[in-house]
């Protein structure tokens, strides 16, 4: 389902980030444009088969988010290849892809289109999305009036209604109130049961332990450990003295 083969990612970092033409020209003339090769991922290889729920753990800056970006096709790796079978749906951060002037209804279609769903599919699933999000009559209100919980519920409902083949989740499970959190968790479980492949990044080790079949531990830009959830989590906890 996901084949990651010898993926390396190098960023060429300019020592200071240059944001304007003036700065660039000045630096260019002063010969101060020094680039520094910065390796974020170093020869990463792993395979995920259909239906697996894989958690990715690691310190801040270990390259977790970069890895997800490469898998979802947003970033091109410097070396190596990624082959994925099936449509990839990322769970977006709070509100990205939403337009705050539009109503909830319009945003469902907009966000759905961005995630790659067809019009027919969205129309047929529309009621289900509204029902799951518990927004009721608020669905025809501009979402700038929504609370952050309402927004998150809408985003979650749009992203998960699809039964995507590959779902990418980057730290957004604490959604809404207690009730909705349970509901979203069970929806995730349901998706996993239906054979969706899930890549899951989190710092919350408890969540990982609870949901994943397998854990990949990234450390120092390499895979430090790849195996059963229990085994990896224990080793991980040991480092952190948890």
């Amino acid at each position: 389902m996901i084949d990651v083969e010898h993926v390396s990612m190098n960023f060429r970092m300019v020592n200071d980030r240059i944001n304007s033409l003036k700065e660039y020209v000045i630096k260019l003339f002063q010969h101060q444009l020094q680039y520094e090769e910065f390796q974020v991922l170093d020869d990463i290889t792993f395979h995920v088969s259909k239906g697996e729920v894989v958690g990715i753990i690691g310190k801040n800056g270990a390259g977790k988010s970069t890895l997800l970006k490469i898998i979802s096709g947003v970033l091109k790796p410097s070396k190596g290849t990624v082959i994925t079978g099936g449509n990839i749906v990322p769970m977006l951060e709070l509100g990205s892809g939403f337009d705050y002037e539009l109503t909830g209804r319009e945003n469902i279609y907009l966000n759905g289109a961005i995630l790659g769903y067809s019009k027919e599919f969205l129309s047929s699933k529309y009621d289900e999305i509204v029902e799951f999000s518990e927004l009721g009559q608020f669905i025809d209100m501009p979402i700038r009036n929504y609370s952050s919980g309402m927004l998150m519920r809408l985003a979650f409902s749009v992203a998960t209604v699809v039964e995507p083949e590959i779902l990418i989740v980057d730290e957004i499970l604490a959604v809404g109130d207690e009730g909705f959190q349970n509901k979203s968790k069970s929806r995730m479980m349901e998706l996993m049961g239906e054979g969706t492949t899930v890549l899951f990044v989190s710092h919350g080790i408890e969540q990982i332990e609870e949901m994943c079949d397998r854990v990949i531990w990234l450390d120092n830009h390499k895979i430090k450990m790849d195996g059963e959830t229990k085994e990896v989590c224990e080793a991980y906890k040991k480092i952190w003295n948890m």
């Binding site: 960023f11 944001n19 304007s20 033409l21 003036k22 660039y24 970006k69 979802s72 096709g73 947003v74 970033l75 091109k76 990839i88 990322p90 977006l92 951060e93 990205s96 892809g97 337009d99 002037e101 539009l102 319009e106 279609y109 907009l110 289109a113 961005i114 995630l115 790659g116 067809s118 019009k119 501009p142």
Partner: protein, 472 residues
Amino acid sequence: MRFKMIKKYVIGIGSILVMALILRFIGRDQLRNIPHTDVFTQNKAALSEMTAGTLVEQSFICHMDVLESVSFTLGTYARSNSGILRMKLVDEQDNTVLASGEIDVSQLVDNEIRIWTFSEQVKGKKNRKLGFIAEANSEPGSGVSFYYGDSDKNDMVLVINDTKFQGCLGLTLEGYDVSLFGLYYWQWIISIIILSVVYMLWSDYQSARGKLTTATLMVAIWKKYKFLIFQLVSRDFKTKYKRSVLGYLWSFLNPLLTMMVQYIVFSTLFKTDIKNYPVYLLTGIILFSFFSEAVGQGLAAIVANASLITKVYVPKYIYPITKVMSVSINLFISIIPLMIVVFITGVKFTLAMLLLPFALVCLLLFCEGMVLILCSAMVFFRDTQYLWGIVSMVWMYATPLFYPETIIPSNFRWIQTCNPLYHMIKFARTIIIEGVSPSPSSYFACLFSAVVSCAIGAIIFKRSQNKFVLYI
């Protein structure tokens, strides 16, 4: 399957033929003849009086295919004169008389510009040496005089009574060139059809082999992303006037109000030089404000969608392209007030209006190209948006929006020639105000700038898009 393929070819050939027929029908003379004016010099001073026995001969090289008329200024010394001024146009290489005419000197007003239209058009004299000969039978004290100016070309020789004179008569030749496009119109159309059929066959052959050509790729992208494109365009359009009371009415009011202000400010300055000044103004305002708005909004398209681009894979060019498309809806709405003003000012609606979409499509493509270039630049240098503010202002003044194009001195004309917007706005004005088709070179200028801008934009965008994620 077979039927579907044949249908595609029939539709392709048919639509080209229909467009060719419409174009032929609208632009009968304009496609064939390109007006050509040859101004010899700027008048500086008057020659001596034309009396009996004075023979003035100006030789020149003819630069146009067909000569129709020659105009000149005659001074009368502000007195009443008498006699006849005889003029001849001769071919100096074989000494044949091409045209002759005469002017009753007593009828002339001082410094009047006289246009001598040849009784028969002079054809086939391009690049030959011709002569303009004038003589009169006036008594001394009752003759008129020609104006002359500096001669800057070697092939211009002015001879007065067999002596060479330093200078050149202030003549202006009018005529036209025969356009190769108009002359071989159907040959052009047939070759375009053949080329498109060959390309379609090639595309089919390649897709049968599992490869994509540019055209089939574009069709595939359109099929895959049309829902997203539609959603993004309607998002922009819906939110544009979301919380305003008048809403979409602003798309009407904006160009109209701008036109009114400019009309009040500039009408006394330029009104007399320009036919139908309100329509002249409004056409320029609508097209230019679309351009500056589309580019101004489009250049931020990548940066503004940073949160999506770093998360979801969507071809990145979708964002700038849909931005221009959503601004273009505004353009199409503002055509309505333009048509209302056209109607009120009493311009006749002619079939030439059917050519307006050509100008609009070229403008749209030109904007797409500009936006692709600038939004890539914007990712790396945020200064681009402020620079664009200045550039678009300079561009606005360099384009004849509210002033007549003739006030630009001839040594700065190249600014207009290099300005794609000038060509597109002029194209639209010719269609609307004159009611005729523009000359073939205008079509070419519009199409050329659109295609070049798109090509450059696509190349720059393609080269830089993989780095976007690292910088936004």
